[in-house]
Symmetry: C2
Subunit: 762 residues, 2 copies
Amino acid sequence: MKLLLRTTLLSLFCLPLSKGYTEDSSYHQYIDPLIGSEGLGNVFVGPSTPFGMVKPGPDIGTHSNSGYDPDLTKSLVGFSQVHVSGTGGGPKYGNISVMPFSGNVESIDQSSLRTNEQAQAGYYATVLTKWDIKAELTTAERAAFHQYTFRDTAHNAIKIDGGFFLGENPVPDAREAQQFVGSEVDVLSSTQIQGYSRIRGGWNNGNAYTVYYHAELDQPCDRFSTFKGETLYPSVKEQFDSGEKTGGLCFFSDHQRKTVKMKIGISFISEAKAAENLRNDIPHWDFNLVRQQTEQKWERLLSRIELDSTASVEQRKMFYTGLYHTMLMPVDRSGENPLWTAMPYYDDFYAIWDTFRTSSPLLTIIDPERQADIINGMLNIYKYDGYLPEGRSGNTNGRTQGGSNADIVIADAYVKNLRGVNYHLALKAMIKNATVAPGGNSEKEGRGGLPDYNRLGYVSTDYVRAGNRTLEYAYNDFALATVAKGLHRMGEYYRFIEQANNWQNLWRNIEHDGARGFIMPKDVNGKWIDEIPCDIKDGVATRVSYTPIAQDWPNCVCWWCGFFYEASSWEYSFYVPHDIAAIIEKSGGSDAFESRLNTFFEHNYYNVANEPSFLTPTLYHWLGKPHLSSDRVRKIVQEHYSSKRDGLPGNDDSGAMSSWLAFHMIGLFPNAGQPYYLINSPQVKSATLHVEGGNTFKVIAENYSEKNRYIVSATLNGKPFHNTWINHSEVIKGGELRLKMAAKPSNWGEGKFPPSLTTTQK
Amino acid sequence: MKLLLRTTLLSLFCLPLSKGYTEDSSYHQYIDPLIGSEGLGNVFVGPSTPFGMVKPGPDIGTHSNSGYDPDLTKSLVGFSQVHVSGTGGGPKYGNISVMPFSGNVESIDQSSLRTNEQAQAGYYATVLTKWDIKAELTTAERAAFHQYTFRDTAHNAIKIDGGFFLGENPVPDAREAQQFVGSEVDVLSSTQIQGYSRIRGGWNNGNAYTVYYHAELDQPCDRFSTFKGETLYPSVKEQFDSGEKTGGLCFFSDHQRKTVKMKIGISFISEAKAAENLRNDIPHWDFNLVRQQTEQKWERLLSRIELDSTASVEQRKMFYTGLYHTMLMPVDRSGENPLWTAMPYYDDFYAIWDTFRTSSPLLTIIDPERQADIINGMLNIYKYDGYLPEGRSGNTNGRTQGGSNADIVIADAYVKNLRGVNYHLALKAMIKNATVAPGGNSEKEGRGGLPDYNRLGYVSTDYVRAGNRTLEYAYNDFALATVAKGLHRMGEYYRFIEQANNWQNLWRNIEHDGARGFIMPKDVNGKWIDEIPCDIKDGVATRVSYTPIAQDWPNCVCWWCGFFYEASSWEYSFYVPHDIAAIIEKSGGSDAFESRLNTFFEHNYYNVANEPSFLTPTLYHWLGKPHLSSDRVRKIVQEHYSSKRDGLPGNDDSGAMSSWLAFHMIGLFPNAGQPYYLINSPQVKSATLHVEGGNTFKVIAENYSEKNRYIVSATLNGKPFHNTWINHSEVIKGGELRLKMAAKPSNWGEGKFPPSLTTTQK
């Protein structure tokens, strides 16, 4: 079935395209939005432009994060216009739901099973089996295009529902649940309807946001009903906002055409702005043109990294879908911010804790102008909301999971000399993170537990998530110090480079499963904590031993209340990205560390499905044994990634999982916040990077095959290259990194250790 | 001139009124909105219903707080629909400006000098001299009514300006300045126009708020122009929001009537809600009916306290205008909150630091249901925004000046047994104030410097406003302890009743002008601070001695950055409202304290224009010498209050000054947060309070005259009454407090000391 769909799809690309690329050079055909739609991926499957504000897609039930659920036995309840991709936690958005239906029923609730689902770049289609309606979606940045083909011309209708949203919970103020605030509908003519939906809450417990719409049909409704709450009002054209759910039903005459087109402009500002967005984005009725334009937008970005022709279709799908996933969010809402006018404005940082590690660095390669734009958007958030975002959605900062990781995004840009960013302003924003506690807003922004951290050098058990907060703040401080030094702000540099060692204050010299030294909880008086409170049973608090594999959340305490966020001490005790040499030493030296790493992977302490261990498979590089990193990475990819629908091992988190994979496929891996990429065995024969300034950088794996998977030597622009890492400045100069591959590792990399704070300061 | 206007005005009240009250029992006639319009009062002079959301009024220039400026040589630039009253700091609101004009000019800027100004309850009128247009305004809760009488029927027009607002500053993000975000205009028909204005900033540096309008005219515009920025678009009916200023000009045909009526519905939700508000509030075209209904709303409230017939017109004007000023804000925006749906919702707490002392207690007497409603609104703000408001405007908490004084409003309600408030939720909100530092949001809400306060027992000089913060937090803690004890939460009670003594940690045993002991700055190590940094001159920081009259703000540091907020140590060292006995003792005993008080008033350390010293003139009560309090109060009233336009000595601050006066006129004065009123010499022969449950409480000053101004004995319901204070519970029972007045003080009050923490705990 799937194969059949693919064939149909490929034939579409034979259409002449205006921008002059041919099928041969077409990369967007390898985008498969359904990768990651099953399992934990939670990806959005509908059409989207890169960083596009509008993401129309199917809502299967009401409780999926992306609107989508692969289960074909669950009903599709509508196609709403705004979604997120890859997220966990409480759902967000799912606003302005549109549903075609047939029959004589005058009912607000309309749902159907679906079949024949297709998803490609800029296109989604399915058939609603209840009425045999084919629904097709494409989209521009700020306007969606729906096309519905009914079985025949009789008794057809379309519902537009301003009351729908994802994650509804009847409990008022339920944590992480979206809650209804208000809505409106206004039938302007037989072909125009507009209104809005105002929703608060969701994953980041955000303030109310308002999604305005202006929809136009290519043929008139014979009659309209509007609704408020559960009541239908035939021929009533307007429902004002009384805090109830409203929408409209458009009933077509039996003389309509079978295929009905509907364009929906969306805005976060007003209905009139939504209409303007529609006029701007889609000033015609050509569904295919919109689709092609969106394909071309993707094509322009995907073609920045070209895999050589020997890469398999499976690999191309994994790789280009990976790039695609990385560019779905944050979304560009410049000119669409109801809070202030400064531009650029981006929303849906969801969350930087996930994306700083690989998504931001990947974007810096593919589209440095965009990355600078995003950072400038973050700085505007700092300027007008007071703090840089960590998570942000619906125009509200929140939530923080660990550190103030925007610091690392900024440092990463700074060390890679990303142009167009006011780094003095950025440093100010970082210093605010590091010095002004967010107090009661610590779920929202800034550094919770900062008073402890700045007084004691660690976050004590007086605060939740004290373990990963301490670790992340230490690395955030390293990032701050990096930028401060570059800007000759030596006062800040000396303070924060010292604080970058703060993780050591929670390093406890205990042994577990053969490994020595772990990040462990310490109270405010400096006393190590051996037990943690858990359930209260029969009135007595039970306590459990705190070991490096102990996990207090979510059983003993709430999800956000453990010592670590979403990982164990085994995982987090590797999280010192700026000083791997120091943890090697503290772990007992190279051999002990190698053994510790092996235990980590072999005893299942490693969690492929989450971000804290993103760097860990490559830590062998700091032992001078990059081939062991290569082995680990290859095994992880083979076991956990694929081009199948369940081809992502965890929540994609705005492309975090996807970008981790994409980097590893081309043999480079960033240590975000630092200027280099680790060189690791590529998984393709060659990759060509079209980097800023028109330069081309090639990574060539000479003699590469499934068997010849070890780098045995390297040259850069023809000269021997001994380091197992390469600076970003070398990459963007353009050139050729030629890696000689063989079936057995050589001593390449031996005695070469990527930078560590301890060793560079020596 | 003024006399003439008054005569004209009084004749208006001979109209038959539907609710059956006659001129004899009419109190609203004594409302003079112009009291406090000159000098520092900053009151709003246009019409308003009690706590009404809509306040249409003249804007004289663009930088007055209330829109009004008494200077007749300054131009009137329009009549906008939303204002605040009595505030200082940066202006707020001034949205949706309407301006009639005549002539052939097609220009956006229209302004005129004015003459023949009239202001009464529910009515404002003036003549625009440039075109000889009479403009009249009245209002309902959520819709305003404008009536313009042109000189003749030719070449007339009305401008509706969604781009106007008060306090515009070309500097982006200027502190306390309102800043433009966006606007829209939509001409629906020849008689209907709607749109919105979105503004951020202002005094509380608030988030963007949106004021939507829907305006209707009683006769058609011959043609319309809309504008965006500086450009006029003849016959273009819609301007969408592109972040520019928009509005519309309605040009009448020469066949119009001379008098044009315009009704404007306002909403913070949407244009359609604004239209609904208009339909609800003013479903007709009878200007006088709206005016009369608004008069009646005031009448119902003012008649809760009746001054006896011997009170002079001047006294009535002062008193009833005082009550009126107290009920202009906060404004009832239930159903008009774009952030959440919970009701009630009130906005424009501006600020509780001003209003907790006398405004809230006055309202608890006049309209306890309303006060409970307001507190429930505050609790909703805690529930959905995280903290109780201290200041709040435009749907955003902010700013804090000193303590978390909502605590005192709650305690005041609790000790007065105000029904309909969830005090358990209220205690939770108070505990949050007292335990969760607002961190980077300390300008907005909560208690800045709380980490110091909770660790050291005082706010150190590491934080700004450390002096009044410490004092206010101590009293806030007393309020918290009061409620905790009542709810049998003894753990909290013991902690916070102890903390109520924290003011003592900043009490320094130094002498100044004959007085001993002052609240003085202390650093984080417990060291008293003798000097404060001031200007930097020639690269060297100058320092000035810190004495009890030193004022570091705004010359040495910013307005908000001094050790005290808006007052000196002489003033603040009396601010221990829960333990006057303790400051008497610390000052050296009764004689020393009496002398200190005398010095305070006689050496001009007292500032009548601000709230910190509201209680101080009555502190003689705690010396058993209430007649000295009476002398002080009488002198202050005589010297600083009147029924003239400059009849308020300071910013009225939502009626703070006015309610201080009103209480003193009837011989009762509250110590907010505690259950009693001090009994002081009334300034009228009798006052009848119609309190909750239909009871009547009379304060009778027997034998009162200008000469017989001392209370020499008292009876309550015929029985001798020796205390110089009376509990609220006695007042609401109903009854008669009969005070015997004489020309010389007696020993009444001797040996009777109102409650103090020190003495009640002994």
